[in-house]
Structure formats: structure tokens, C-alpha cells
């Protein structure tokens, strides 16, 4: 039995908006402005993997400057106080929150991995047999940020067989 994706682009956009409202832009003055450009550049990325009833990845990618700003906003720090560890932890948690919310909308039995953070462009990432199925691409305070969903087509046959 194949399981349809139950999370569409507008659901993803709403989750992203809520992350901004909660942590990155609580005053509502610097939203993520959509660019619809799925090829926009990135310098860092983080991801969580989902396995079970649906298999794939949720990936955050942005410029280093945006990542630094995100960490400063998330942790209530000044931009110049932010350490590499702060950036790494923040990006991991951003992927985890969006990924967790995606998981909650999937048929039960899905599992979420621990977040992975890579201080390198998203284009360097390898998700075997995975295809990007939706994403929110935007500019935040002049810097590129994206959150996308990838679906793995063939590496989850065993889990689905139960």
C-alpha cells in the first residue's frame, strides 16, 4: 500500500510562518518574503529524516548571515555574541520543529531522526533516492532562507512491509 503525502505546500508554509511568529519574528515586522526560487543559494543547512509510514527529509537551508540572525533571535543574543555551536543548535532545532509538525500530520507510525546540521550549502547534501516535493523559499532580512520537504521513493520498502 502506498501512502500519499498528507502535507501540502500551504501546510508547510503555515508551519514555517508559525516558527517565524514564535521565535524569529515575534514582533511581526520581518517576515520571510517568498521568492518561489527553489534554486536560491545557501551556505548552511540542517535536516531531520522521517521514516515509517512515510519516508523523507525536512531541510532548512540559508546563508550564513541568516543562520546567525536566526540563532540571535532564537536565543535572544546579540548577533556578535552568537557562536558556531549556537548556530548549529538553532538550525538543528528549526529543522526538528518543522519536521516534528510534518510528522504529526502523517499517518501514525512515522519516526523522526535527530537533526543533522552541516555548515555547507544544501547542494552538497545527498539524499539517496529522494526528490524535493515542496518547499518554502524566501528572503529574510535580505538573506536567502528555505525549508523544503524531500520524499524518498525506494529506501523504505522494509518498513512499509509490516
Amino acid at each position: 500500500m502506498s501512502v500519499e503525502v498528507e502535507v501540502n505546500e500551504s501546510d508547510l508554509a503555515e508551519m514555517v510562518e508559525q516558527v517565524w511568529e514564535s521565535y524569529l519574528d515575534p514582533e511581526g515586522v520581518s517576515p520571510l518574503i517568498p521568492t518561489y526560487d527553489e534554486n536560491q543559494p545557501s551556505e548552511v543547512h540542517s535536516s531531520v529524516s522521517i521514516t515509517g509510514s512515510w519516508s523523507g527529509h525536512v531541510v532548512y537551508a540559508s546563508s550564513m548571515a541568516a543562520a546567525q540572525r536566526a540563532a540571535a533571535a532564537f536565543l535572544a543574543m546579540e548577533m556578535d555574541e552568537v557562536s558556531e555551536e549556537d548556530i548549529s543548535d538553532t538550525l538543528g532545532e528549526l529543522a526538528n520543529i518543522v519536521g516534528g509538525n510534518v510528522k504529526a500530520m502523517l499517518p501514525s507510525g512515522a519516526q523522526l531522526s535527530l537533526p543533522q546540521v552541516v555548515l555547507a550549502p544544501e547542494s552538497s547534501a545527498r539524499y539517496p533516492n529522494a526528490q524535493r516535493i515542496s518547499g518554502v523559499y524566501g528572503i529574510w532580512e535580505g538573506e536567502p532562507v528555505s525549508i523544503s520537504m524531500w520524499h524518498s521513493s525506494s529506501d523504505n520498502k522494509e518498513e512499509e512491509g509490516e
Binding site: N8, D11, E14, Q18, E21, V29, P31, I33, N101, M105
Partner: protein, 281 residues
């Protein structure tokens, strides 16, 4: 980037004319923050450009969007809590006695915004009324966009986090994709309509309780008085009006008197005549 004086005056005049809302000087920052998403949604580079264009070429649809953006109240479920506690502990027990024959209550949530207040009233009534009673709640708002939203009765995770106990969330809501939707058993008792509080009121059946909270603060004294007078005509003689914590009828409309309601206060019309035979001249 800050709003120029001329742009601010343009916006202030617009919302004063269309919604009778007074934007005091010094709210430039708020106006700009609320208009940024509107400007972006219509494809303008920024708020200044959006307002400059609109002044050159009036556009009723864009004006409507500005009014919606500036009149939408911040709201949450069980906002301020005390009025709802007062309903449960004091007001409803009395109404349950005085309406024992009809066993039906009508509430009005005025300026209902996205509907959280109306559904908080519905939850309160659902949890307090004895079996065999029914209730109707009417929500009204000046924003048609908000009336549509409230009618859908869908709330985001961030919204359901605010004010609701977890037990109420699982009991009165169901997941609908990324949202939570109010269950039909509550929704069928709540209707939302478009209505401007500053225009003459349409014909309405009288209400047992009116929630008119945190909206008078936006109006000048003459408008406040007019709204309060109109509300008095559709409030049952022994019915109660709840205002926001920072609002009062005192010095505006002496036809009301303040009465204690639990740890907060509410307003009743003076010379209240028992049993629905209000004489008013």
C-alpha cells in the same frame, strides 16, 4: 523607513471615516508594521510606495485591506480569563434560575475578530448549562475577512496554544490538516455576521449577555455613547454587558450602572424591569 506625516494622516483619515477608529499620533510604527504584509501581498516594494500609489489611484479593495489590517484585534481563547470565570461562577447560575422557563440563552460577541471569544463563550456555556438547555452565540465584526475566518472555525497550533487548557483542546477541537477545527457540536450554536458597530444596528433579538470588549477604546466619546445606547436596546433588562478591563460606561452613558460580577465588573441598564418588559423612552 518610517511613515511620513502625510501618509500617516491619509491612513488615519481612512480608518476614522470607514471604521470610526481613531489612530493617535505616535502609532506610526504600529501602522507601518501592520501594513508591511498588506503592501507585500499586493506586490508593492514597501509601505511608502503602496500608500503613494493608493493616494494617486484610490482602490476600494486596497482600502478595505488597510482597514482589516488596522482593526484586527489581538485575540486569544479566554482572553483576560476573569469575565469567563465570572460567567461560570456568578452570571450563569443566576441566569439558570431566571430563565428556567425558557431554558435558552443568547450571547453576543461584538467585534468578534477571528472568533476565539465567541467559541470561548460556547465552551463556557457547554460546560455550565444543565442538560436540556440551549444557547445561541452571535459574533459580529467589521472585517469581512475576519467573519469568513471565524466561520471556518479553524485555528493554527500557535492559536490553540493560547488560552485553552489541553483538556479543552482535545475535547472541543479536532485536527484538520495543519489546523484545529472547532467540533460541530459547538459550531452549530455560533454564527458570525458582518456588522459595523458605528452604523445603525440591524434588527436583532435581545441578548442575555453582550461581550463588547476592547473595541470602545478605539472610538471617540460621541461614537462610544452611540454604540452603548444601541447596545442597551438589544440587552435584556436584566442582561449584562461586559467591557474590556480598561473600558467603562461611566461618564459616557449614564443609562448603565456598574455591577460586581465575580472578581470583575459588568454593566446593567438602570431601572431594570424584571421579566423582559423594558420601558425605554
Amino acid at each position: 523607513m518610517t511613515l511620513s506625516q502625510a501618509d500617516f494622516t491619509f491612513v488615519a483619515n481612512l480608518v476614522r471615516r470607514e471604521a470610526s477608529i481613531v489612530l493617535a499620533a505616535g502609532k506610526e510604527y504600529l501602522v507601518e508594521a501592520r501594513l508591511i504584509p498588506v503592501a507585500r501581498a499586493v506586490g508593492a516594494a514597501n509601505v511608502n510606495e503602496f500608500l503613494a500609489d493608493l493616494q494617486r489611484r484610490p482602490n476600494p479593495q486596497f482600502q478595505r485591506k488597510i482597514i482589516d489590517a488596522l482593526t484586527t484585534n489581538e485575540t486569544s481563547f479566554f482572553r483576560d480569563r476573569e469575565p469567563f470565570t465570572a460567567l461560570t461562577e456568578v452570571v450563569l447560575p443566576e441566569l439558570i434560575k431566571s430563565r428556567a422557563a425558557q431554558r435558552k440563552l443568547r450571547f453576543w460577541s461584538a467585534a468578534s475578530s477571528s472568533g476565539q471569544e465567541a467559541f470561548s463563550l460556547a465552551i463556557t456555556l457547554q460546560e455550565t448549562l444543565p442538560a436540556g438547555w440551549s444557547y445561541e452565540i452571535m459574533g459580529t465584526d467589521i472585517s469581512t475577512a475576519m467573519v469568513e475566518r471565524a466561520t471556518k472555525a479553524e485555528y493554527s497550533q500557535v492559536e490553540v496554544n493560547r488560552g485553552l487548557a489541553a483538556t479543552q483542546l482535545v475535547q472541543y477541537f479536532e485536527r484538520a490538516g495543519a489546523h484545529w477545527r472547532v467540533i460541530p457540536a459547538l459550531r452549530r450554536n455560533v454564527t458570525f455576521k458582518h456588522m459595523s458597530l458605528t452604523a445603525p444596528f440591524p434588527p436583532m433579538q435581545p441578548f442575555d449577555v453582550i461581550f463588547l470588549r476592547n473595541v470602545l477604546i478605539y472610538f471617540d466619546v460621541a461614537t462610544k455613547r452611540q454604540v452603548l445606547q444601541n447596545a442597551a436596546r438589544i440587552l435584556r433588562p436584566d442582561g449584562l454587558l461586559f467591557l474590556g478591563a480598561a473600558e467603562t460606561t461611566i461618564g459616557i452613558d449614564d443609562n448603565y450602572e456598574r455591577v460586581a460580577a465575580g472578581r470583575t465588573s459588568a454593566y446593567r441598564t438602570r431601572n431594570a424591569v424584571p421579566s423582559g418588559a423594558a420601558r425605554r423612552g
